[in-house]
């Protein structure tokens, strides 16, 4: 399959007063063209930082992306779009929503204001907002509508690749499915590839083709949706999956309750980062760090003793 984005050994560290936070540590990831790649993990697992690093919106720790700021500005929006988590704050409160779309177009294309307006209006209809709302300010729209505007803003210059950082987690549950469906429709129409960051496994299951599970800045498991959900190899994935409620009262699932909290990323545990919380941990786990290996076809896991 054709690759649209390949990340090799990405490291993003934050310098804080209490030490260096290794938010993303040695992540290698390949995104295939036209796929819906879901990234799941707890808070603090580095998934959002991964998304921001792709656009180089966090200060680069090294020469990972060998492009300067000027070159990045041409890629941001044009090649890679981004949808943020909170639609309440991701739109400028003092600018009309329609204008925010037009502006994105003008940043990247030599286009007249009138043409830009026509384009923006047609996209408005496509994302399901009546044209009359074009001159509204963000506060006049509902949360769902605002996220639709944010999605439209990411789509308007027709990027090939969209990084969506928890786009539905702040949306009312009743509206989530419709936003997800909108994203799927747009994917078909514009031939998009998504990197979809979420902590909601149900959402990931609903929308992704492949799933990547992150823990403390590392990828612990990666594979097709079917593989990861039906045959998880990593104990962490198993624990995550067991936390998802099943809408069947007769189904008795075996709950795996993880002990403790996510350890501090400033001082991650030695060896396998999951070993202090892992019910299957053995001595080797605290000494040696497992690497991501392919166990089955297209199914990768970073564990010494895969399930």
């Amino acid at each position: 399959m054709e690759e649209i984005l390949s990340i090799e050994k990405l490291k993003t560290y934050y310098q804080t007063l209490s030490g260096i936070v290794k938010a993303v540590d040695n992540v290698t990831l390949h995104v295939h063209k036209g796929e819906f790649l879901g990234i799941v993990g707890e808070s603090g697992s580095g998934k959002s930082t991964l998304g921001l690093s792709i656009l180089k919106l966090v200060p680069p720790p090294g020469k990972i992306i060998e492009l300067n700021e000027k070159e990045m500005q041409k890629i941001r929006g044009k090649k890679i779009g981004m949808v943020f988590q909170d639609p309440m704050t991701s739109l400028n409160p003092l600018q009309k929503v329609g204008e925010q779309l037009i502006e994105t177009l003008i940043v990247h294309e030599k286009i007249s204001k009138k043409e830009a307006k026509e384009k923006a209006e047609s996209l408005f209809e496509k994302v399901g907002i009546p044209k009359e709302r074009f001159n509204d300010y963000p506060h006049q729209l509902s949360g769902g509508q605002r996220q639709r505007v944010a999605i439209a803003r990411a789509m308007i210059v027709r990027p090939d690749f969209i990084v969506a950082d928890e786009p539905v987690s702040m949306i009312d549950v009743s509206l989530r499915a419709s936003i997800l469906e909108l994203m799927m429709d747009l994917k078909k129409e514009f031939n998009l590839t998504y990197l979809f960051i979420t902590h909601d496994l149900a959402v990931a299951k609903y929308i992704s083709d492949r799933i990547t599970v992150m823990y403390l800045g590392k990828i612990v498991e990666m594979g097709t949706k079917k593989d990861v959900f039906s045959k998880p190899k990593h104990p962490y994935t198993l624990a995550l999956l067991s936390s998802v409620p099943v809408p069947n009262p007769m189904y008795k699932s075996e709950r795996i309750i993880l002990k403790g909290e996510v350890p501090s990323p400033i001082n991650p545990p030695k060896g396998c980062r999951f070993h202090p919380r892992c019910p299957y941990a053995k001595e080797k786990c605290s000494k040696e760090e497992p690497i991501l290996i392919e166990t089955n076809k297209e199914h990768y896991v970073a564990c010494h003793f895969p399930l």
Binding site: L55, L57, M72, Q73, K74, I75, R76, G77, K78, G81, M82, F84, D86, T89, S90, L91, N92, P93, L94, Q95, E103, T104, V107, H108, A150, R153, A154, V157
Partner: protein
């Protein structure tokens, strides 16, 4: 300045908290009427403010509404034309300090780093001087005159606008919508002009009207000390100084009217600032 605080205290006795709109209306009416006086000066008085038009030191009468001064100039027409002088100086100096302080503050707050350090140190050292003393020093060096006075005052207020713009930019640039603009590939210049600047305006309006009130007093003080606008240009501060010597002899009208108008204009702007602050700053509302 203490004088402004003093007036605001008195004002609080008359207009209670929570009526910001009233304050703004009162302030605007005062300021607008003085602006009208300045614009329509030739219609309001037929006397030339820089020529002797009658006997000297005449008390207010129907012929000379505010009396005449030592040289026989009509005080009313000097007040009317003096409004022009003070407004020109104030507007000019505000434009200068705003157009230096605001962009520098924006740049400094947006980019941070070494530029911010250097600019902050420069601005803070200007800010450390008492405003009037600095204005006196600058005015003494560059000399009197309308434009020079405006320049001397402008230098004093650059740090006020700079600090305000910088602080606001610091907090706005951390907002998600700024990051979202970066994510769509917007250039720094676009982000600063189209996304940060409009968000600065509410705060800048308040700072603007409060420091204009201050500017008026500084202008009057400079002229009073003989370092600002010089004779024979009609100017309230200068007339105050010229009239001061005659007060012990009982010629009260020479200082009463210029003083009154300086106070009026100051109060007008400070009411606007206070009122806007009350309307736009929600934290003020809970204060007793």
């Amino acid at each position: 300045m203490e004088i402004i605080n003093f007036f605001n205290k008195i004002l609080r006795k008359i207009v209670p908290h929570g009526s910001g709109a009233k304050l703004v209306i009162i302030g605007f009416s005062i300021v607008i009427s003085i602006i009208f006086i300045a614009i329509f000066a030739p219609l309001l008085t037929s006397y030339n403010p820089t020529k002797s038009v009658g006997l000297s030191l005449q008390p207010p009468s129907l012929k000379h509404l505010m009396g005449t001064n030592r040289l026989g100039y009509d005080m009313f027409s000097r007040i009317v034309y003096g409004a022009r002088t003070i407004l020109i100086v104030v507007i000019l100096s505000t434009i200068i300090s705003l157009s230096i302080g605001l962009p520098l503050g924006l740049l400094s707050g947006y980019f941070g780093g070494i530029i911010d350090r250097i600019l902050s140190i420069i601005m803070d050292s200007i800010y450390a001087f008492p405003g009037l003393i600095l204005a006196i020093a600058v005015a003494a060096v560059i000399g009197p005159g309308v434009i020079n006075t405006a320049l001397a005052i402008a230098i004093v207020y650059v740090p006020t606008y700079y600090r305000m713009a910088r602080g606001q930019t610091f907090s706005i640039r951390e907002q998600l919508y700024i990051e979202a603009m970066k994510a769509i590939g917007a250039k720094d210049r676009t982000i600063m002009i189209k996304h940060i600047l409009p968000n600065l305006l509410p705060t800048m309006t308040i700072v603007f009207s409060l420091s204009v009130a201050d500017t008026i007093l500084t202008e009057a003080s400079l002229s009073f000390l003989g370092l600002g606008v010089t004779a024979p240009t009609p100017d309230w501060g200068y007339d105050l100084r010229a009239g001061k010597e005659f007060l012990p002899a009982g010629y009260w009208w020479l200082i009463t009217f210029p003083g009154l108008f300086i106070i009026l204009l100051t109060i007008g702007f400070s009411f606007i600032g206070e009122g806007l602050n009350e309307i736009l700053n929600p934290r003020m509302k809970v204060r007793p």
